[in-house]
């Protein structure tokens, strides 16, 4: 998964330069920045704006519009629980409640020790083998309380 590392203006400039001349470069740039830094560092926004000749507000507007872009680093582990209808039909509500209780965070929050971010996701396309989850980019289906507990144990590492 993505590793959050310190801000590096040279790396950001290199990433921006890599995509700048493609058609519709903003999303590919933001994806690459997030892959490199684990989030979209604020100092990157004016650099992107400058390179693409758009306003900083436009860049910030895009960063905040899409659920995927983070404005702060996530926890060391990211556990996403699918909360869409097909998973609801198979008990995802109870699993989300269990995860929130065991991790002591609400959906959408990162634990105080920075160990884990718990997030809802609206559909992983695993609706015939639901409920499903994604941990650090790995997908897991047919989730039940036991499997969830194993994923929660993984976040302790």
């Amino acid at each position: 998964m993505t590793a959050s590392s310190g801000w590096d203006a040279n790396l950001a400039a290199e990433i921006i330069g890599r995509h700048k001349d493609t058609e519709g470069p903003l999303l590919p740039i933001l994806h690459s920045l997030q892959e490199a830094f684990g989030y979209i560092p604020e100092p990157a926004e004016p650099m992107v704006a400058d390179a693409l000749n758009i306003s900083r507000a436009e860049v910030h507007g895009v960063v905040t519009f899409y659920h995927d872009y983070r404005q702060a680093p996530a926890g060391r582990h990211v556990l996403k629980l699918c909360q869409a209808e097909a998973c609801q039909a198979c008990g995802s509500d109870a699993l989300a409640a269990r995860a929130q209780e065991k991790l002591g965070v609400k959906l959408g929050e990162t634990s105080a020790d920075g160990r884990v971010t718990l997030e809802p996701v609206y559909c992983l396309g695993l609706c015939s083998v639901s409920p499903s989850a994604m941990i650090d980019g790995r997908i897991v289906a047919r989730l039940d309380a036991n499997k969830l507990d194993a994923l929660i144990a993984e976040t302790a590492r």
């Binding site: 999303l27 899409y66 998973c87 039909a89 609706c127």
Partner: protein, 518 residues
């Protein structure tokens, strides 16, 4: 001993059930036993309750085993070495399974069978026959697609051929083919399966579209939640370029066409075609007012064909077998087949492609086998988060665009999510409004504000606060959203809400006034 071919699906549904570990174990076992084994990461056949479903190639066809768990691998491997021998998980030939025999696989003809990353395998299974026929008479492509009766499989059901004709008739230096692979509807996974199981059929379909309308560049916009599909599509595009089916001279012809994958960023509304185009351009995914149509002014203001994955992936077989062949399946104005996705609380979930006309009841009870919880089916949501909830009383509805519309529902992208009797329909109605509030692009007021007011109103109804009054407010709000929203997000959110209210009033604390009003 010759090399034994073993298939371990690389489809995300199989991977999420442990297929990657199983593939590794088989590799280890083969090395330890000194047996020559070729492991192929195929797509899924679509019998998802059997995933991970492994197959071995024998002289008598492929023999499947599933669902294989970690502890079963060694035993299954032994059975496979014994020429597809006995094992408690032995399924037999996948194509002989009743779930497969009842289907008509046109769009999904190769899914689960071929090696998705191999252009040679694709061609050996009938791939690029459609494109070759298209190249023989390029001026006829649009007419052929129009005559086939193919309608947009993304949900709107707009005739694909007419869309293409509009773009073909519009003069421009640059035109685009955009594939909408932002499959965000819960209960749908057919786009994902095709991209992971038979990506070349999508590449071929998009190339045919490019030749038909005069476009040389295509984009596939895939949602970020589909990392496996993104990988396979990128590999297939690279293989396509190497194999000369993409590039300056498509299959040695005078036509140029190339493709690029672009990845979404978690916004559901980008499944709406104009929001998708804005997103591709690097903007917030906000819906555009129409006109102008994307066919006239689409991506970067250029004429653009934007179609769903399934629409484009169905074009090759139409070109190969002819419009008449395809049109002969189906009912009414819904021609051909629909890859239906059976999801949620079902015994036999998966991909079921069949001609339009099968009833909802057959799909849920006979094919899907009812709820795996063993409880009775209470409601079925058809067509994703914006689709209506159907009660058992409407199970005789045939799967057909118009028949579902007549019952105040929609078939959407063909996803069916089944709920047992423990579901609280007021809660589902609330969720529909909440989802719309979170995902609204914010451009139009009925959707942006209406959804938030909708959550509040359902909350009051659930708490029994002035219930009758609030039911009226909710109904009125739904009308405003339905007729006043710019796109289907705000416009269709009333479907799940109103269907829940209409068919399951008891979950809203049924009042005599509500029933009298019907």
């Amino acid at each position: 001993m010759s090399t034994i071919r073993i298939y371990v699906p690389g489809d995300a549904a199989a991977v999420a059930c442990g297929a990657d570990d199983i593939a590794r174990t088989i590799g280890d076992l083969a090395a330890r036993k000194n047996v020559a084994v070729q492991i192929i990461r195929n797509g899924s056949r679509g019998m998802h309750w059997l995933e991970p479903m492994l197959e071995v190639a024998t002289g008598d066809g492929r023999i499947a085993y599933g669902p294989v768990e970690a502890g079963d691998v060694e035993g299954v491997f032994e059975a496979m070495l014994a020429n597809g021998g006995e094992h408690k998980l032995r399924v037999g030939k996948p194509e002989d399974h009743p779930f497969m025999k009842k289907q008509t696989r046109l769009t999904f003809a190769r899914c689960g069978i071929v090696d998705p990353r191999s252009l040679e395998d694709y061609c050996a299974h009938g791939g690029y026959r459609g494109l070759n026929k298209a190249l023989a008479k390029p001026a006829n492509i649009v007419a052929e697609v129009t005559q086939s009766g193919l309608r947009g499989r993304g949900g709107a059901g707009f005739p694909t051929g007419i869309k293409w004709k509009t773009v073909a008739d519009t003069k421009a230096e640059q035109k685009y083919i955009v594939c909408n692979a932002d499959e965000g509807d819960s209960g749908t996974f057919a786009d994902r399966m095709i991209m992971e199981g038979d990506p070349f059929v999508l590449i071929e379909g998009m190339t045919i579209a490019g030749i038909a309308v005069g476009a040389t560049k295509g984009y596939i916009y895939i949602r970020s939640e589909y990392p496996h599909a993104i990988d396979v599509m990128n590999d297939a595009i690279a293989a396509g370029r190497r194999g000369g089916v993409l590039g300056d001279k498509v299959c040695g012809s005078s036509y140029a066409f190339d493709l690029e994958v672009r990845v979404g960023a978690g916004a559901y509304v980008c499944g709406e075609e104009t929001a998708l185009l804005d997103s591709l351009e690097g903007k917030r995914g906000q819906v555009r007012a129409k006109p102008p149509l994307p066919a006239h002014k689409g991506l970067f203001g250029k004429p653009t064909v934007i179609n769903n994955v399934l629409s484009l992936a169905t074009v090759p077989i139409i070109m190969d077998k002819g419009a008449e062949f395809y049109k002969n399946f189906g009912m009414g104005r819904s021609r051909g087949t629909m890859p239906i996705q059976l999801a949620g609380n079902l015994n036999y979930g998966g991909l079921f492609e069949t001609a339009f006309g099968i009833t909802l009841g057959e799909l849920v009870d006979e094919i899907g086998g009812g709820c795996f919880t063993g409880r009775p089916v209470k409601a079925v949501q058809v067509g994703g988060p914006l689709g209506a909830y159907f009660p058992r009383a409407l199970f005789d509805t045939p799967f057909d665009y118009e028949a579902f519309a007549a019952k105040d529902g929609l078939i959407g992208h063909g996803g069916i999510v089944v709920f047992d009797d423990s579901v609280d329909m007021a809660k589902q109605a609330r969720f529909a409004m909440e989802f719309c509030a979170v995902e609204s692009c914010g451009k139009c007021t009925p959707c942006r504000i209406g959804s938030t007011r909708g959550v509040e109103t359902v909350d009051r109804i659930m708490k029994g606060i002035e219930r009758d009054k609030n039911l009226e407010v909710l109904t009125d709000l739904c009308n405003t959203m339905k007729f006043g929203s710019l796109c289907a997000l705000g416009g269709f959110t009333p479907y799940p809400v109103m269907s829940a209210l209409t068919h399951f009033p008891e979950d809203f604390g049924a009042s005599p006034r509500l029933e009298a009003a019907e």
